[in-house]
Amino acid sequence: MPQSAPRSLRDWLDDGESAPGRHIWARHASIALDDLAHGSSLGGRALELHGRSVLVATSHQLTAALALIELDGVARRLVLLPPDARFEHLPAVVADAGIDAIVSDAGASDHGDLAVPLHVTCSPVIEPMTVGRLAPHQTEWVLFTSGTTGAPKMVTHSLSGLTAAIKRSQNRKDPVVWGTFYDIRRYGGLQIFLRAVLDGGSLVLSEAKEPTASHLVRLGKRGVTHISGTPSHWRRALMSSAGDAISPQYVRLSGEIADQAILDNLRAFYPQARIGHAYASTEAGVGFDVNDGLEGFPASMIGQSGDVQMKVVDGSLQIRSNRTATQYIGGAVAALADHEGFVDTGDMLELRGDRYHFVGRKGGIINVGGLKVHPEEVEAIINRHPDVRMSLVRARKNPFTGSIVVAEIVLKEQPESGGAGAQVGALRREILERCRAALPQHKVPVMISFVPALTVGEAGKLARPHA
């Protein structure tokens, strides 16, 4: 449990202990958090959103951050649209989440076609004004899960659950400047946004498409002290020419398996920093931090009592805590937790000595630099080729993205021995062209090999290795 459950984000900002001079810096704009205590980024229209189910659909993270601060405790529900949300999914989101208001910004797509009665614009300029208050709501937060097939899934969280893992620092005199490579509209980035707001700090936002070196220079200029990203983000940082632009006290990795090589490289590059890797997911919340510099986590953490309880069932990590999401919303979706309150993360573990190591995802889901790939969706494209009998898509370990996608294909007829090379080469090109036409780049197999047979298990299903 947190030291005291937050009432609303704004109450935390108004907290008298908080240091002055706090900012949220985006690439081309910034705001002073003090201004928000006596002003509005919504043109003073927050009260119109009181008690509503609000879709936050901004084009910029800064305006999303402002809307979240201004509307937590005001709206009944805040639905945070991720940056890569597809327009065709929005009508279902509006229906499933009972959306009756949209907050967007100047750069956002036009949502006029959606059947939503109230549209409010959020601006990165805070207008000074007296903001009235109505009876506070315990706002329900709704986040999208990452990278599944088809329509995105939404899960609900409470602010107390989202912030339960955040420990307020003892020394508030040296304000923390948080930075993250994540987008704050997804769970990993939102955690960093909340840490900055709750712990009296400032925040440097990322921006899509910004070169890594430019982002690092910007982080350095703002004096970032605490910074978080996936192992893939950190590999990019170390490969950029500007890794030394920052000198953080704390480096955090999450969202993918942190291997020993990236932990060791970061320790060598940032000798002054504490290096920690964390386990968290949108559904299971923040599970735990590992701060001993080693990959995996001590097996003794399984089965312990406390705020976060963990067990391993059929190799998969299950978590029960007050930080997990409360439920899925919309569509015909399964229960999020079992009858004992455990959420199955689908992350597969292997015990080696006295530590558990993450070995991949249940069902073979492949994680390419933080983006999930279902093998079946790639196999479906490959199998449509008239010469293909069956295929198996699986992960291959990779130092730059954690995993890449590779495919093994059984042809209906084995290529003839003479001229097989040319025939196979042409087939490979044809199959790859089909994949490129139908799939985003990270899902296209990097390697295709033709094999005489694939193992099929007793239930008639392809034998899949853990991704």
């Binding site: 590999r235 950029s240 370990k397 990779n398 130092p399 990097v446 390697m447």
Partner: protein, 87 residues
């Protein structure tokens, strides 16, 4: 073919496949400025492992992440000199 030539020709091939315009492949080129993204490097390292029999970035915990094209080539040249790393 030299290690460097194998690497640069694979970089060119991946850039063509992904319709990426490459910066000139000079030794001092910062890899992240080349036009290739993380996924391209992932593909590159996987293909080079099949061609050269080694992935120096996975085979050893001591290898730093490469910044320039020269660093990248040197990582492969050093790995080739160390027989225990090659498959």
């Amino acid at each position: 073919m030299t290690t460097k030539l194998t690497i640069t020709s694979q970089i060119q091939k991946i850039a063509d496949e992904q319709s990426i315009t490459l910066a000139p492949l000079v030794d001092d080129m910062v890899l992240l400025d080349s036009g290739l993204d993380s996924l391209c490097f992932a593909i590159l390292v996987a293909r080079l492992e099949d061609l050269l029999g080694v992935d120096p970035f996975t085979a050893s915990d001591d290898v730093s992440f490469p910044v320039t094209l020269r660093d990248f080539v040197v990582a492969y040249e050093n790995a080739a000199k160390c027989p225990s790393l090659t498959a």
